[in-house]
């Protein structure tokens, strides 16, 4: 069995700051990390590798520095890593990204057929959750999104049963490989990389592909040119002109502040008064 995992290198958004005056992103010094959601995808693939002696290939499209993300995947136990990097890929939206990634996957498939593709639920920079479904549509693979559990896998019948999170419950789905699975956070706990694996990852020769290696002939389908969407502006949320009416009383005591607030709320907002619907019989114990 051959499993391909799509991982992206992203800026650690928890550390991104916005310049207070110019409203621009201050990227300087923000570390690049593997998209946290993709680690769940990688771990799930590695678990199948352990069980079924599968081969795991990690694929990342990004600038040359994204190599670090792939080394991490190798350290955790991926067998192969492919960095898809070319100037023409820059500025891609999700449609163009899924085009380039699916072209590369097709190429990988020629050497060794791909049975499963794993992707994260979404990225923390793009946040769209669209690239996975996009790749599945382009490669005509069965799509299973928001998977919270792989229930069973039957290699002989090429069938896989999963739990898929949906509104109000879980769908138990059975499908045939090849399939693309986007995994939900919390589906597993990432392993620790062994020291030996870390050394192996450092020595490993990554495969680096440009557009020709991925057999992408039509450059109008990738990068900025192949992106139907464009960002027309970036701005800070408008400050409301509102400023809270601060409740004050002569005594400043909590009891008086609370009574004043409640009186104002009930008098001015009949909707709020109507919405109050205690779930407890008022027997005085609640106070």
């Amino acid at each position: 069995m051959h499993i391909l995992v799509c991982i992206k290198q992203v800026p650690d958004s928890a550390q991104i700051r916005v310049h207070p005056v110019t409203n621009t992103i201050m990227r300087q010094g923000v570390p690049a990390i593997v998209n946290p959601y993709d680690l769940y995808a990688l771990e799930e693939a590695l678990r199948l590798k352990d069980r079924y002696r599968a081969r795991v290939t990690a694929l990342c499209m990004g600038p040359p520095q994204a190599e670090a993300a792939l080394r991490k995947a190798l350290a955790f136990g991926a067998d192969e890593a492919i960095l898809l990097t070319d100037r023409v890929f820059a500025g891609a939206d999700t449609l163009a990204t899924s085009y380039a990634l699916s072209a590369a996957i097709r190429q990988v498939h020629q050497d060794l057929p791909v049975d499963l593709v794993f992707a994260g639920k979404q990225t923390i920079d793009g946040d769209t959750a669209q690239v996975g479904p996009g790749i599945a549509a382009r490669l005509d693979m069965q799509l299973l999104t928001y998977v919270s559990k792989i229930v069973s896998l039957d290699l002989a019948a090429r069938e896989i049963v999963v739990h898929r999170r949906s509104e109000g419950g879980v769908q138990v789905l059975k499908t045939r490989m090849p399939a693309l699975i986007t995994v939900l956070e919390g589906i597993n706990e990432m392993r620790f990389a062994s020291l030996a694996d870390m050394f192996r990852a450092e020595r490993h020769r990554l495969t680096t592909w440009n557009k020709d290696d991925a057999h992408i002939e039509d450059v109008t389908k990738v990068g900025l040119k192949g992106s139907p969407t464009a960002v027309s502006k970036v701005f800070a949320p408008t400050p409301t002109n509102r400023r809270a009416e601060i409740i004050e009383t002569q005594s400043g005591q909590p009891v008086d502040l609370a009574a004043t607030l409640v009186a104002k709320l009930l008098a001015r907002h009949p909707d709020v008064a109507l919405a109050i619907n205690p779930s407890l019989e008022l027997d005085g114990r609640s106070s």
Partner: protein, 365 residues
Amino acid sequence: MTATPQAPTPRPAGRRAQKLDERLAGYKGVWVFVEYERGQVHPVSWELLGEGRKLADALKVELAAVLLGPPDGAVRGFCDQAIHHGADLCYLACHPVLGDYRNAPYTTVLTDLVNRYCPEILLLGATTLGRDLAGSVATTLKTGLTADCTGLAIDPENRGLAATRPTFGGSLLCTIVTLNYRPQMATIRPRVMATPVADAKRTGRVIEHAVALIEDSIITKVLEFIPDDHAAEANLPFADIIVSGGRGMKRQENFRLIQDLARVLGAEVGASRPVIQAGWVGADRQVGQSGKTVRPRLYIAAGISGAVQHRVGMDKSDVIVAINEDANAPIFDFAHYGIVGNAMTILPALTQAFTEHLRARKQAC
């Protein structure tokens, strides 16, 4: 209506073209995909019809609802409801293969409908279903899709859709346009848009769409549906009153003060992200950018600073009350009422004051 507009070839034009390509100008109308599963319409669909109505009016075109589902009477009934919520017409596709949501048959049918009737805008809820379907449909149609939007508008200059969404972890917003590709697609978060008031007198047309699919051709099968245990699950997005606590509550035990007030009001308990991370309450109670979007009639925030990632999930609430000991906390910039003070003493006092009000209300009956 029986006339079918001639479908323009859905081929994208050059990105830099100034005027919308003639072929694309043939795309007309605003569509809302009405999410229907297991006998219920997701409320986000009504919210989108309310918003879609505004877009359609700005463009002076029709608003259509699209309903896919199994061939039972219920789906048909929801066409009327969609019209009551603002649609001019409803495209209806009923077939046994559309019984439970599955990506492949839904993508095929929705893509067919778009290719046949050519809407300029297609909106879906940013739910697990909507995001799954939108990604596949947009890729199949080779058009642009903007995910998880919080605002939509029409650019009066070029009649294009301007879709706004949070970016960079929610600290900024960005507006995204789809240039020379149609339809322009977007998914929108539940509870970001207001639910329109249904008007039972509104009438509209229903256009049935024949589905030529057979179950044998569909590879993925639904074996079972395991419903969530609703007793344990919070229904924050649709709560009328929410009492939320933040890191300022200091300790898990103090969260009892939040729960006491919530119980007296019949409210749901919410929380900011640090509270979830500390494990004081379950993850389904997180309000904000990476949690739930809520719009209750009353939102009480105690010990919450009002960071933008929290704010985007709750600032559409009708009335916001903030309790914070720091008079300069950002939450006072967008709350309606504020008490500057210690939540540990203010919360019990509020619980007491509301209890007294309820007692008086009961006696008056």
